[in-house]
């Protein structure tokens, strides 16, 4: 299979004349529905007075945007550090879990499952309420970043493990037959291929990390959501503010997607052969 085959071509056969007609009708219908829905939304906004300038005019002020952008940068900061922490932690947990060292493997297994099954909000409360009682003071930034990063590291450890399992055994056997040692095979052969395999799941999980940062209000960390909340209470402009904030989150997550796709293709090698070997 070539890399140029799009998902569409891989899933559906080429449309015949009847299908093409049906596709055109379907396209027209869904466009009409979409337009009707948009009109309905605008109408509801206007009926309920949400289009009133008082809900939108403050967006013309630089201070509004400066405050929102400060929150935006806070969100990016937390999401980035939590993402880095999750990827590093996930890799380490996975490597520990697949290591031949039994106790290490068992410990990593338990930690992985623990982080994976605890809600991140509960972890946040732990760092916010429990840790300080032991005299450990940390800034709000870390009280939100650590729990989100740790929760995601548990999930990513499993994602990475699935990727490692998906690398054909023949790749490892070939590396062994060249005299490569276990650690070298892991670094040079298994991980590079496993990471490429899991890019889609990795992206989904990083998007979850971005969304998890919205609970930063628990520790009063000024992220986008927290700052939006402040503006809402100042201007009493709930719907318009959430509308703008939603668009900002969509932009961040779209950028996360694009960045990952870019990284995935940077190696220049798009196609992985999946021939598995059956020894007899």
């Amino acid at each position: 299979m070539s890399a140029d085959v799009s998902m569409r071509d891989a899933l559906y056969e080429a449309p015949g004349p009847r299908t093409q007609r049906r596709v055109r009708v379907g396209t027209a219908l869904s466009l009409a529905l979409l337009a009707a829905f948009a009109a309905f939304v605008v109408r509801q906004f206007s009926v309920n007075g949400q289009l009133d300038p008082k809900y939108w005019s403050f967006f013309a002020r630089w201070t509004t945007w400066r405050f929102l952008l400060q929150g935006f940068m806070g969100t990016i900061h937390v999401a980035f550090m939590a993402g880095v922490l999750a990827i590093m932690g996930g890799l380490l947990l996975m490597l520990g879990r697949i290591s031949p060292n039994r106790p290490l493997s068992a410990i990593c297994h338990v930690i992985t499952d623990l982080f994976r099954s605890l809600p991140s909000l509960l972890l946040i409360y732990f760092f916010f309420l429990v840790v300080p009682t032991y005299g450990i003071r940390m800034p709000a930034f870390w009280m939100i970043t650590l729990p989100i990063g740790l929760a995601a590291s548990g999930v990513l450890a499993e994602v990475f493990r699935a990727g490692v399992n998906a690398v054909p055994t023949g790749q490892v056997e070939a590396a062994m037959s060249l005299g490569m040692t276990h650690g070298r095979i892991t670094r040079r052969i298994v991980l590079p291929q496993a990471l490429r395999i899991v890019i889609p799941s990795l992206v989904s999980q990083l998007v979850v990390v971005v969304k998890d940062t919205t609970v930063a209000y628990v520790v009063s960390y000024p992220d986008l959501m927290q700052n939006a909340r402040v503006l809402i209470s100042n201007y009493d402009a709930l719907v318009s503010m959430y509308f703008v904030v939603a668009i900002l989150y969509i932009i961040v997550n779209y950028a996360t997607n694009q960045l990952s796709i870019h990284l995935a293709h940077r190696g220049g090698t798009q196609v992985l052969s999946r021939v598995d070997e059956k020894p007899v």
């Binding site: 023949g170 590079p192 090698t269 196609v271 992985l272 052969s273």
Partner: protein, 250 residues
């Protein structure tokens, strides 16, 4: 054919192996001498691939011993890796590293294991790729090559390690018919240059033309062995005769 004159490079002594209930290798005794080409044939499931894979310990054994240059195979770690570096292996499904170019595939062993410098390793790799006829594909990734090209590149990758022995585990079984000969030609040349080879194959014409010795296996046992003409023209055992009859149609 040097037999018994020097110490064998590979010696298998009363080797047994089970997969659960299945007795895949039964009391295997086999010597391979330097420069010898030994071809393993037999019905599928007879244990010939398993036997081949025990020689560089991709498969472990339950009992008996395997000596390489007079020393038992190391069981693990750097010693085992060092042993494998001296034994080339070519697989049925090529197993080129899917994420690296053909050139990287060939230079990886010399650079990472033998600690050669990149420039020298690449120069030699290009010579080897030219020798097997795929130098034009050096910058491509494996999936962009035909099966025959991939297998020839895989042979070049093994040769780059300057192995003392080459193991071929059904090297042409996954190839389209028109690509089998281009791979066999490379193997014939290697044999003529004096490479010590253990080859698991179904290509009887190759066995006849190149083998110093044909080893026939069935049900995990070595049933009989001899020169190609002895084996193909005068098989001694009923099982060998049955096997040869069953493939005559091909």
């Amino acid at each position: 054919m040097p037999v018994g004159t020097t110490e064998p490079i590979i010696r298998m002594h009363h080797v047994d192996k089970h997969y659960g209930q299945l007795h895949v290798l039964r009391d295997i005794n086999l010597d391979v001498h330097r420069g010898e080409v030994v071809v393993l044939i037999g019905p599928s499931g007879s244990g010939k691939s398993t036997l081949c894979r025990t020689i560089n310990r991709l498969e472990t054994i339950d009992s008996g011993e395997i000596l390489f240059e007079g020393r038992p195979l190391p069981e693990e770690g750097r010693e085992l890796a060092a042993l494998r570096a001296e034994i080339g292996m070519v697989f049925q499904s090529f197993n080129l590293f899917a994420h690296r170019t053909i050139l990287d595939n060939v230079t990886m062993g010399p650079i990472e294991v033998l600690r050669r410098n990149r420039r020298e390793a690449e120069a030699e790799a290009m010579e080897l790729l030219a020798r097997v006829g795929v130098e034009a594909q050096a910058k491509k990734v494996p999936a962009q090559l035909s099966g025959g090209q991939q297998q020839r590149a895989a042979i070049a990758r093994s040769l780059a390690m300057h192995p003392k022995v080459m193991l071929f585990d059904e090297p042409t079984s996954a190839l389209d018919p028109e690509m089998i000969n281009e791979v066999l030609e490379v193997m014939v040349e290697l044999a003529q240059e004096g490479m010590t080879m253990v080859v698991v194959t179904h290509e009887m014409s190759f066995a006849r033309r190149v083998a110093d010795r044909v080893v026939f296996m069935s049900d995990g046992q070595i049933v009989e062995q001899g020169t190609p003409s002895e084996f193909f023209d005068h098989p001694r055992s009923a099982r060998a005769r049955d096997f040869l009859d069953s493939i005559k149609g091909h």
